[in-house]
């Protein structure tokens, strides 16, 4: 039963991300549904399924070629790794500020990794001249803002059903 539920959940998140990208213009299409979901999973306490989520979500982005193959996968892995380390070692309390810091940190790490890997590959090709750093910075700021608001929103919903003491 849990497998079926997981498949439905993953499919819904992928559908939502696809719908957002196709429905809306900038900046709304930057809402990182997948990243918000992953951060919340880390915040709640990661389990074995996280490995498969990284692979599935990372591979989903790789299908669309907006970065060199592997950039999104590696960025997702690093983000989850860093996020989890912080969640287990520093941001151990399940409060709103903790999840907001986690969201900020994770979205920063993810975008820096994607841009970093893209640049490493692009520097060897003539397309490096066309990379707009101001554009990358604006995208990053919007993404961080959406991640923070998104995780805060989900935290609000989750908080209504759970108490902090349940951890």
């Amino acid at each position: 039963m849990w497998r079926f539920r997981s498949i439905i959940l993953i499919a819904s998140i992928l559908l939502l991300q696809t719908a957002l990208a196709n429905f809306f213009s900038f900046p709304w299409r930057l809402i990182p549904v997948i990243m918000i979901f992953l951060i919340f999973r880390i915040f709640r306490g990661a389990d074995k399924s996280l490995t498969w989520l990284i692979v599935i979500f990372g591979f989903f982005f790789e299908l669309f070629r907006d970065a060199p193959f592997g950039a999104n996968l590696l960025a997702t892995l690093t983000t989850v790794g860093v996020g989890q380390w912080f969640a287990e070692r520093i941001l151990t309390n399940r409060t709103l500020p903790a999840i907001l810091i986690l969201a900020l940190l994770s979205s920063l790490v993810f975008r820096l990794m994607v841009v970093g890997i893209t640049l490493l590959v692009a520097l060897r090709t003539p397309t490096a001249e066309t990379i707009s750093f101001s554009g990358v910075a604006v995208v990053m700021i919007w993404e961080m803002a959406f991640t923070i608001f998104g995780t805060a929103f989900i935290y609000g919903i989750w908080r209504r059903n759970h108490t902090v003491s349940s951890f």
Partner: protein, 277 residues
């Protein structure tokens, strides 16, 4: 009980998970480089494409409705502007017809054969890339249909909408002109040399930069490709100048360009073969 991962203190479970994920990811990258993932990628895109196309078309319908409401407000203003445009274009059509006849006669006299006729590959848009950071459209034609990287992509009436960024067997990824990484050499209609570079910004606007200070440009001048790049022919319509930004002591002037078509609502495109020199 702690362990160390890359000299960082962590929990054993976490290390196992990260190492396991890293191994899977490295295997995936290797398999992709060797081309072993092609059937899986094609299968995944085969499943995702109809979903993406559905959302894309619904998005276009919704945007069309809001645009219609906005357009109603400016109906009178638009009518005046379109009447002016119509008169101007009729005159331009007459001039172009005369020039075409003259050109034909001159070519005949020189015994010159025309070689500019090029056929494009018609394609439909499947949707946008989901990450949102890049402004890429996915087209339903790829290598198997003869699409090549760097080819210009036009919408109705020869309006340039973007450049092919990447090609797979059955899909092509088109970077829209309005993307921050898009750059195309452009000029105004009637000018023989390149005037500046048209670049995009977040999928929202186009700018014409690097226009020398001594060049005279006007609002509503038609902006076309200058043919400076190897792959892009001269004369593809980009848009018209909406506003000019000119500082007295700056080396270059800038202009805001109004695109000739709405990139957000493009459904069908024509991929022109890359010229190459």
């Amino acid at each position: 009980m702690y362990c160390y991962l890359f000299y960082v203190k962590c929990y054993p479970n976490m290390r196992r998970r990260v190492v396991f994920s890293a191994i899977i990811i490295l295997l995936l990258i290797g398999a992709h480089a060797l081309g072993w993932l092609k059937p899986i990628e094609r299968g995944a895109l085969y499943v995702i494409s109809p979903v993406s196309r559905f959302f894309y078309n619904v998005g276009i319908s919704l945007k069309g409705r809001t645009r219609w409401l906005e357009a109603r407000k400016n109906l009178e203003k638009n009518l005046d502007s379109l009447t002016d445009d119509n008169a101007r274009l009729r005159q331009a059509l007459v001039d172009a017809d005369l020039l075409r006849q003259e050109n034909f006669e001159l070519r005949r006299l020189l015994n010159f054969t025309t070689s500019t006729l090029r056929t494009g590959i018609a394609a439909a848009i499947l949707g946008r890339t989901p990450s949102g950071a890049a402004n890429l459209l996915i087209a339903d034609r790829g290598k198997n249909s003869g699409v090549t990287k760097g080819s210009p992509v036009v919408a109705a009436y020869g309006v340039l909408v973007g450049i092919v960024e990447d090609v797979q067997d059955d899909t092509a990824y088109i970077r829209l002109l309005s993307d921050g990484q898009s750059k195309v050499a452009a000029t105004t209609l009637g000018r023989s040399q390149s005037l500046g570079i048209v670049s995009g910004g977040f999928g929202l606007a186009l700018r014409l930069d690097l226009i020398p200070q001594n060049e005279e440009i006007h609002e509503r001048d038609l902006i076309i490709t200058s043919g400076l790049e190897d792959a892009i022919p001269k004369g593809l319509i980009i848009g018209e100048i909406e506003a000019i930004q000119k500082e007295p002591f700056a080396p270059f002037q800038h202009a805001r360009v109004k695109p000739a078509t709405t990139y957000e609502t493009v459904r069908n495109i024509l991929i022109l073969p890359s010229l190459g020199r």
